[in-house]
Subunit: 315 residues, 2 copies
Amino acid sequence: MNIALDMMGGDFAPLEAVKGIVLFLDEVSEGISLTLIGDETIVKDLMASHGISSANITVVHASQVIEMHEHPTKAFREKQQSSISIGFNLLASGKTDAFISAGNTGAMMVGALFSIKAIEGVSRPTIGAYMPRENGTLGLLLDAGINSDCKPENLSQFATLGSLYAEHILGFENPKVGLLNIGEEEGKGNLLAQAAYPLLKENKNINFIGNIEGRDILIDKADVIVCEGFTGNVVLKMAESVYDLVKRRGLHDEHFDRFNFEIYGGVPVLGVAKPVIIGHGISHAIAFKNMILIAKKMIEKELMQKMTDIFKAQA
Amino acid sequence: MNIALDMMGGDFAPLEAVKGIVLFLDEVSEGISLTLIGDETIVKDLMASHGISSANITVVHASQVIEMHEHPTKAFREKQQSSISIGFNLLASGKTDAFISAGNTGAMMVGALFSIKAIEGVSRPTIGAYMPRENGTLGLLLDAGINSDCKPENLSQFATLGSLYAEHILGFENPKVGLLNIGEEEGKGNLLAQAAYPLLKENKNINFIGNIEGRDILIDKADVIVCEGFTGNVVLKMAESVYDLVKRRGLHDEHFDRFNFEIYGGVPVLGVAKPVIIGHGISHAIAFKNMILIAKKMIEKELMQKMTDIFKAQA
């Protein structure tokens, strides 16, 4: 398998990306090729100074970078020689099997949706967020912000996609799916949640446990939590701020350390036909390493094929 | 002024309500009458055993109680002799000036909306939630769950109502109003937030500072945060769960102690013509005391008249 990494994306790239590769190579030494996309001179110099000399690593030169503040669609279209554009071209043409970047999130979404395309039957690809739980596992909340207005059937599809990810990548057996809502009983909630509930109940591809509330997000009541991207994004950013608050108060706690979302690296775009992982802008070495490991697992588990099969069976 | 208190509402009523009255009378000894509604024998016995013998306290007998699990509309209609029904009758007829209960929230809302009615011009009364900030002040988030689907103009009205409450009751000068959203710039967000932004910008009764994000909820960026009640309720319950989590982890911190929402007592229904305060079901003595103090302040500051005047001027 060949995993491509945008070396220019993220606030601390390319240095932290290179360090992440060193960490990755310490863990995984064979069976995998890496394609590093970025300024060839800079990347090769950093590789040399960090002692990276694997025959399984190829550097692909990119003369442009899509900066964090740039307009996603415009930049993606105009900067054909950017690391993100080249990354999607390689993935779309089958020269690589996954693409990872901690760069401009919007441009990554544009690339995922327009270069790679959605799995047939998926009306809206989604992006999730990990939710740390006290038992040490990670729950998955989706959508985390790219689908701010949703239809009920979108939430049901998010549930299917999230369940497959939770099962095959996060390691849950028969993951429990909860609908984020403002009451426990069926019939509670806003119009969207009321309409989504019966669809989730009928969805044979998931283990639906019913509504969960705001108080249940940070515990292990559900392994997969579905909601529209507005609420999901507010929840994610609020959870991130809890970590900041705990640190600012000078508190030390193993569980709250796991609210440091940076360590998880990135989350994949679910519902597109190939593995695309979007990292946090402030990704450091460990985040880059983790993203490569997730991409590897997604390929090994043939996650995209499993998703494709399920949506094909429903059609 | 005469403030009425439902003695039978809440998980720890009437004992904690009585204890709350003792605390209140320790602080405020004159210029205020209390009407205590509940089982006369039980209430009078508890008053005697707690040494309450003020001439300014009247007990009004209520032979029924609306239980926490009962259907709000049905119970409110059928249990005419319940403490909540009697409380609203007294308030509506002008015999009391405010009504407080930690009982069935739904029945309290039904009473507020149908016995008291909305201020002219207010299309949807709302209920807020306090958000503790590190600087020791309390922000106000609204709606906290009764309006789960909103129109843009509802959010603008919530902002007006919340600003008046923040100014006159919470003590903010020219309170900053933020729209809860998933991006900082105008034009970001779901359809509701996109449409609400220009209305908030044009609202001359508020000091609108623009969008705020999930990460800004727990800091002092905005004094009043507006959103629809679905997201607001998820945020409130998630904030409550942070307190539980901090306690469970054995962490001690003055700021996180303020996430114990129980201490704030209740929040008023804003947008109805008279002061109605709905307490948390698990209210203890200090919560009951605080609710009486808030009702007193709302009456003293003529908050409802100020709200009425502003909406009349807009008509």
